[in-house]
């Protein structure tokens, strides 16, 4: 999934440039309308997908032979959940409930979805934000070192690091990190760790694959910015390579990188699913994995809407942030002679 981000970056930038032309308030209104459309469509697609799946949460839970329920008992339970009512009725009911802020009840966990989400969100938010932060730092370090590297071979080696990072299966990395750092070297416990200790290895696991596309985009952008004449001008002023990199190239190269944040979001979620499963963290990712396994429709529906919401908000934020960071997108009037 890593490489998608890299390639999409260019696409997003060009889209933004195109959007720049529109009038701000109308543009904002349009964007919000689109955001609602995306939310609705994500909800509907996931509803249809869930409906089409064989079996359902009730069956999966109560047909479990360990519960020892008879066919009749299962049928009674099904009736009490009203899962066999017509699909349009269920759709209308679910969307109505969602609009009213009621996410329903998790069949598998036996608690309201809202409380499940409340219980699982903090861990994922912590993991994802720290993971993203570390990924950004890693990417920055790789990109900056490789552009400062004095030797071609070192530069080549550093630039192939992202490819390597992309090539490692996340779950494998997680398990290996546990084996090495927790079990062999005994540096960090994975069982019963402190509130911050427990995040160290998962954050690394999550950050490595996320950092790869970021680093690739950043390396490419730095290379590209480095060839721009203003860099030569800055050097001609007597600025050192580091000065130029830090004060001139960095911001210019970071701008297009920002736009892949929205795309990386999906990877963050996917990474969180795997990471949380490997490390037994109690987050949305792990919840998603379990909910898919047990087809806990209400939970999945809520997760999809939640992540679609996060997606549109992140993208909107990126779009709005862009003019703040790039003065060229700020003013609408052109050059005056």
């Amino acid at each position: 999934m890593g490489s998608m981000a890299t390639a999409t970056a260019a696409a997003v930038v060009s889209e933004i440039r195109v959007r720049e032309g529109r009038i701000m308030s109308a543009y904002l209104f349009n964007r919000v309308a689109q955001a609602f459309f995306v939310l609705w469509a994500a909800f509907t697609i996931s509803f249809v997908l869930l409906q089409a799946m064989p079996g359902d949460a009730i069956l999966i839970k109560f047909q479990n032979p360990d519960l020892g329920l008879t066919a009749q008992q299962v049928a009674e339970i099904r009736a009490s959940y009203a899962v066999d009512s017509p699909v349009p009725v269920q759709y209308a009911r679910t969307i109505g409930n969602f609009l009213a802020g009621d996410f329903g009840y998790s069949v598998q966990a036996g608690v309201p979805v809202a409380s499940l989400l409340a219980a699982h969100l903090p861990a994922t938010l912590k993991l994802a934000s720290l993971g993203f932060l570390l990924a950004a730092v890693l990417a920055g370090v790789i990109a900056f070192l490789s552009s400062l590297a004095p030797f071609a071979w070192l530069r080549g080696a550093l630039q192939s690091v992202p490819s390597l990072f992309i090539s490692i299966p996340t779950f494998w990395l997680g398990i290996m990190l546990i084996q090495v750092f927790s079990f062999r070297l005994k540096l960090v416990p994975v069982i019963n760790p402190g509130p911050w200790q427990e995040l160290i290895l998962p954050v690394v696991t999550l950050a490595v694959p996320i950092s790869a596309p970021l680093a690739q985009v950043l390396v490419r952008n730095i290379d590209e910015v480095m060839t721009r004449p203003f860099v030569a001008v800055a050097r001609a002023k007597g600025a050192t390579r580091l000065w130029v990199l830090w004060r001139h190239v960095a911001k210019n190269a970071l701008l297009p990188t920002l736009t892949i944040a929205g795309v990386l979001f999906g990877e963050l979620i996917a990474g969180a699913v795997v990471t949380e499963t490997v490390f037994g963290l109690n987050g949305i990712g792990g919840l998603t994995e379990r909910a898919v396994g047990s087809q806990d429709a209400a939970v999945l529906q809520a997760i999809v809407v939640l992540s679609a919401l996060a997606f549109v908000i992140i993208n909107l934020a990126v779009d709005l942030l862009y003019p703040v960071l790039d003065p060229r997108l700020r003013t609408k009037t052109g050059a005056v002679a």
Binding site: G21, R22, I23, M24, R228, P229, F230, A232, V233, A234, R235, A236, K237, G238, A239, T240, R241, W243, R247, H248, K251, N252, L255, L325, D326, P327, R328, T331, K332, T333, A335, V336, A337
Partner: protein, 546 residues
């Protein structure tokens, strides 16, 4: 104009400089045994066409060769100290402080996300030349010195809020900020309009005099060199062809290459023809292009009144002649020709080509119309599909219009390609494997293959080296007389226009400010603007001398 040899040593002394670039096939030498010197306060021009090694030489002096380039041997002595093999760390103390650079393209030479003030102030910070509380005042006074209005406001603005000329002024301010002994001006004006170009060159001259700096002027334009330099160094293929005092070189060029350059430079050459010799002009009026009351407005972003790119423009072009549309950037000339070829729809007014009303055309009618009118673009790198070979490019219009057999199409394409002077072996190549001149020949062949009546040339030679430009102009002239073509020639370069056109329209801010035959307009300009344009043509010194 000769420099009196003073007691001071030369600011710069380049001796036997050899520079090579490494690429996948090994090292390739780009500069061969180049030697020259610059005395204090002197302007030396490095003149040459693309690939002559002039920019490489300039880059090596300030220590900014591309990563794959290296000085093989030779020395670069700055005030007697050889800096050719200095490390970056050593060079950093010299760059900006003792040698500075005025770059080629003001559009991209300023960091778009930093304010003008911070980019100018930066040079004091880098060299620790001023206390930080002094910097702002100094920045503003420098901006004022290079002729920017409202310097305090400019300091807070971003590069995109300034025009090209203003940006170049900022870059000059950066270059003189620390009063360096040597300013390298690398094609400082080639991206600017002629009138702006003159003002910028004047500014450099003025500041040089004021600060006592020596200038190494890198240029492809012999006219600029002739006007501004004390001495000229002519480079070709990385080797010095000749050097000497400007007047001497221009008056009596010793190398054949210099002679060729002089012959090709439009600013020094006489018009190819005079209106009088053109038979068609004398015959009955037969206007193939009629533009009447053309208006094109663009809706401004964020509301407000519409922007008038073309404002009530009228002109006519007679069949078989060349009409030039002249103007600087923003004058509306590109908008005009896009309307003429049917890529843009005017807001008001009438365009008739060979009796056909262009603005009424859509769909198939428009497509058929294109057989009559062909456009040759400014940039031959962008207007040819990089994935097609030459033969495919030239046969494509035939495929679109004529139901010919493949072999017939190719036959026709071969003929026209031979006609524009492309060798047989180039037919299978892709544009990337061609030189700029060859590409423009391909573009012309593509335009001609359908036997159009009107060829619109949008700055078709301005991206080319003078010698190539001269060959293409020769070709165009030849084709016109052979095929009876009509040209609509769009250019900002008055020298070229004078050379090739019969009639001319001068545009400013979307309006026609002058028009008529070339000789009328050049000899009796009716507007101040036309006069200014004519005065700005570089090489006046030489012309005056001649």
């Amino acid at each position: 104009m000769t420099v009196i040899p003073g007691p001071f040593p030369p600011v710069l002394e380049v001796e036997n400089l050899c520079i090579a670039y490494a690429d996948s096939s090994g090292e390739r030498r780009a500069v061969h045994d180049v030697s020259f010197r610059i005395n204090p306060g002197e302007v030396v021009a490095l003149v040459g066409e693309s690939g002559s090694g002039k920019t490489t030489t300039a880059q090596s002096i300030i220590g900014l060769l591309a990563a794959n380039g290296r000085v093989e041997r030779g020395s670069i002595r700055l005030n007697g100290t050889d800096i050719a093999r200095w490390t970056d760390r050593q060079l950093d103390t010299v760059r900006g402080a003792r040698i500075s650079l005025v770059p080629q393209d003001p559009g991209s030479s300023l960091n778009p996300v930093k304010t003008i003030g911070s980019q100018l102030g930066e040079i004091f910070r880098i060299h620790g030349a001023l206390r930080s509380d002094e910097i702002e005042a100094r920045v503003i006074s420098l901006l004022a010195r290079v002729g920017l209005s409202e310097p305090a406001l400019r300091a807070r603005q971003y590069p995109h809020e300034l025009s090209g000329g203003m940006r170049q002024r900022v870059l000059i301010a950066i270059a003189i900020a620390l009063k360096p002994q040597l300013i390298i001006a690398d094609e400082p004006t080639s991206a600017l309009d002629v009138t702006v170009q003159k003002r910028i060159l004047d500014l450099i001259d003025e500041l040089r005099a004021e600060y006592g700096a020596a200038v190494l002027l890198v240029t492809h334009d012999l006219g600029v060199a002739a006007d501004r330099a004390d001495r000229i160094v002519v480079l070709k293929g990385g080797r010095i062809q000749e050097q000497g005092a400007t007047g001497a070189v221009l008056a009596a060029p010793r190398s054949p290459y210099t002679r060729q350059l002089l012959a090709d430079a439009p600013s020094f050459t006489a018009p190819l023809r005079l209106a009088a010799v053109r038979p068609s002009i004398a015959s009955a009026p037969d206007d193939i292009v009629v533009v009447e009351g053309l208006v094109r407005e663009f809706v401004r972003e964020g509301g407000g009144s519409a922007l008038r790119a073309v404002d009530d423009l009228s002109f006519r072009v007679r069949r078989g002649t060349t009409h030039a549309v002249v103007g600087e950037s923003g004058s509306g000339k590109t908008t005009t020709i896009r309307s003429i070829v049917g890529f843009d729809r005017p807001t008001a007014g009438r365009i008739a080509i060979d009796g056909i009303d262009v603005s009424g055309l859509t769909g198939e009618g428009l497509r058929q119309f294109r057989r009559k009118v062909q456009l040759v673009y400014q940039n031959p790198y962008g207007s040819l599909d990089p994935r097609q070979n030459v033969l495919q490019i030239v046969t494509e219009p035939l495929t679109n219009f004529l139901g010919l057999r493949r072999s017939d199409r190719e036959e026709k394409a071969r003929t026209i390609l031979a006609r524009v002077g492309l060798p047989e072996e180039a037919l299978g190549r892709r544009p990337l494997a061609l030189s700029g001149g060859q590409r423009q020949r391909v573009a012309i062949a593509r335009a001609l293959v359908l036997d159009p009546q009107l060829v619109v040339l949008d700055e078709a030679v301005s991206a080319l080296d003078v010698s190539v430009q001269a060959r293409i102009l020769d070709l165009l002239d030849e084709l016109q007389s052979d095929l009876g073509l009509t040209y609509l020639f769009v250019s900002h370069d008055l020298a070229v226009v004078r050379q090739i056109s019969d009639t001319v329209s001068v545009l400013k801010d979307g309006r026609l400010v002058d028009g008529g035959t070339v000789s009328d307009v050049f000899e009796n300009p009716r507007s101040d603007y036309t006069r200014e344009l004519i005065n700005a043509i570089p090489g006046r010194k030489r012309r005056a001398a001649a």
